[in-house]
């Protein structure tokens, strides 16, 4: 559904996005993770035909991003929930949606039906006549989502939809995204929230100007070697590390006073390792088995 080949954007001397290559399938929820300034919003703006690309190619369905003739067709089939909702404060919730429905050339009947449907789905029907500027942050975000869906787009771009929302509002938005997923919409989600990405996204890409890694949440975690064992010691020294490396071929990482070993089978491999540590004078405080989290993947990848 969305194809990017070597997509690049430069602002004068600054390279915001470089060499992005990915393919997003129809009906997939794809998450983009990255630090501030990584190029996530710039990527969304290029794909939504809001800014031009400097290099590379991108396609949404059969239409080419950057082609003037195709840009209107692309904009008809996508919906955008920007990071700043940008509602018209003096118009009511209903009027905001009605205005955008007209811009998307929806006929009156479908426009009215969709406004009612999405306002009810998002719990905003009772607030339909309230000025948008008086709504809470969470309600404004939901209204922005309704605005992006008013014309039933096939592709939805969401730029940090739960940023600055309280936990309840964030959950409501996440649940709504999962409902949209059931409708086989393709969703491109920019987020800082690793937990959210893990819960919602089919695949995740970690971006820092370049696309560093891409895969399902499970694949990303496995890229760090799967299950590991963490041995917390009072103090780690060279003698202890040497002793451990003599009895195991598994990768050993040192993190302050912790040894992290790429082995998850506590019953077989670990007793030998513990014996080696004790023999070398090490004093063990705890032994824990864990699976790398998405946060571990993210922090290691963007470093």
């Amino acid at each position: 559904m969305i194809d990017a080949q070597n997509l690049t954007k430069k602002f004068d001397e600054v390279t915001a996005v470089e060499g992005l290559t990915f393919h997003i399938h129809e009906g997939e929820v794809f998450g983009f993770l990255g630090p501030n300034g990584a190029g996530k919003t710039t990527t969304v703006r290029m794909l939504c035909c809001l800014i031009s690309k400097t290099g590379g190619e991108a396609r949404i369905a059969d239409y080419e991003v950057g082609n003037i003739a195709d840009s209107l067709k692309i904009r008809k089939m996508i919906g955008l929930v920007p990071d700043n909702v940008g509602l018209y404060d003096k118009l009511s919730a209903y009027e905001n949606l009605d205005f955008y429905g007209k811009l998307y050339e929806c006929n009156e009947k479908s426009r009215k039906e969709n406004i009612e449907r999405f306002l009810k789905m998002l719990g905003l029907w009772e607030k339909k006549d309230v000025a948008a500027g008086t709504l809470s942050k969470g309600m404004k975000q939901k209204l922005a989502i309704a605005r992006a869906l008013i014309h039933e787009p096939k592709v939805l771009f969401m730029d940090e939809p739960t940023a600055n929302l309280d936990p309840e509002a964030s959950k409501a938005v996440r649940d709504f995204i999962l409902e949209l997923k059931k409708e086989n919409r393709t969703i491109f989600l920019n987020t800082h929230n690793l937990d959210e990405a893990q819960k919602i996204c089919d695949r995740i890409g970690i971006l820092k100007t370049r696309l560093l890694i891409i895969g399902t949440p499970q694949q990303l975690k496995e890229s760090l070697g799967g299950v590991k064992t963490e041995i917390q010691l009072v103090q780690v020294n060279d003698a202890i590390v040497s002793a451990v490396k003599k009895v195991t071929t598994h990768k050993v990482e040192i993190d302050e006073n912790k040894l992290i070993i790429d082995v998850g089978n506590i019953d077989t491999a670990i007793p030998t390792i513990i014996e080696a540590i004790v023999s070398a004078g090490g004093r063990i405080q705890s032994v824990t088995e864990f699976t790398p989290t998405l946060e571990d993947v993210y922090l290691k990848t963007v470093k």
Partner: protein, 167 residues
């Protein structure tokens, strides 16, 4: 901005005739030889209004969308640039000009009412006012340039403050 569109023509169309009506009362009113020049001078306030109001609205129209963060979702819709600019120009031009024309009508009617006894004839409508009202058409070019500059905020040098500090 809406307050400016209503208040400015209201003040000019009613306030200035009241100035003519009550002005110089202590000294027997404004002299008939001076009154036409005063009325012509007051008429030019409508040019100021016709130039200022659409310009102020036009200058802020697209920059304002950017400031309010509503430009991005707007541009993400399948609206063509020329459609957007046309819509903005109509919104910036029509309401103030309609208000100015209505105000001019009220102004002329009140002036005729207040000055008929002094002058002995109805001063308005006349060629001066006719030229002023026709000049509004040509203000379009000026305010359209402000609209285009609003589209490119890095080139906008001045956005006139709106009347009564309205936004």
């Amino acid at each position: 901005m809406l307050r400016s569109v209503i208040l400015f023509p209201l003040i000019v169309s009613i306030g200035l005739p009241l100035v003519v009506h009550f002005g110089g009362r202590q000294h027997g009113g404004i002299s008939p030889s001076v009154l036409p020049r005063v009325l012509d001078a007051f008429s030019f306030f409508f040019i100021i209004g016709a130039a200022y109001l659409p310009t102020a609205i036009a200058s802020y129209s697209l920059v304002g969308e950017k400031v309010e963060k509503s430009l991005e979702p707007l541009l993400a819709t399948p609206i063509k640039d020329r459609e957007l600019l046309l819509g903005k120009s109509i919104a910036a031009f029509l309401p103030p000009i309609v208000a100015i024309y209505i105000g001019a009508g009220v102004f002329m009617a009140l002036i005729n009412q207040f000055t008929h006894q002094t002058l002995g004839y109805s001063y308005f409508p006349n060629w001066t006012m006719g030229i002023i009202l026709l000049l509004f058409r040509h203000c379009r070019l000026f305010f359209l340039s402000r609209l285009v500059l609003s589209y490119r905020p890095e080139q906008a040098t001045f956005v006139p403050p709106s009347f009564w500090g309205d936004s």
